[in-house]
Subunit: 105 residues, 2 copies
């Protein structure tokens, strides 16, 4: 595999690798499409901070946005993203399950 591939892949993963950005993506799995105002109210975060995180995700092609009057509506571009996060969750679950074994009383 080429250097380009490793760089693109790590950039993609880096964009996902932040608690706030994962929360945004989770909300967008539940709601399909949300305006910025709903996202930062739901997550109880600063508007500018959420805007910055949304920019990271959109720049990486993970989210798309469209204007709707004053609002900007965001949504996940490709559903694969949800699958990736689910797999990470599964991997973490298996790791913790195995770690637990070594602590049996």
């Amino acid at each position: 595999m080429s250097n380009l591939y490793f760089n693109l892949t790590s950039s993609f993963l880096k964009a996902l690798a932040h608690p706030t950005r994962l929360k945004i993506i989770e909300r967008l799995e539940q709601e399909d499409e949300l305006c910025v105002c709903h996202i930062y109210e739901d997550l109880d975060l600063e508007q500018s901070n959420v805007s910055q995180h949304l920019k990271v995700l959109r720049n990486q092609g993970i989210l798309v946005s469209r204007k709707d009057g004053l609002k900007v509506m965001y949504s996940v571009r490709h559903k694969e993203v949800f699958k990736i996060i689910d797999l990470v969750k599964a991997a973490l679950y298996n790791q913790l399950k195995e770690d637990q074994k070594h602590f049996r009383p």
Copy 2:
């Protein structure tokens, strides 16, 4: 989902999100188990740099190591990791394919 879950997930993703660490994991998919010396020679990197990256991956539970004389052998702990990276690759591929459409001459 809890804050703990988002933090664990983002830590896991962050550990994967580096070109060198992705290269290490790719080599370990081809070879199953490798000593540090083979890894840094293959990737043409500093020994201490590779040791640091291996530490990140092991701390996150992505790699495991065992001693074999002077050498330390590393391997991927759970194959799910390969699947995660493959899915990222697929997502990137689909994104690029779609981007391409908008540049048709």
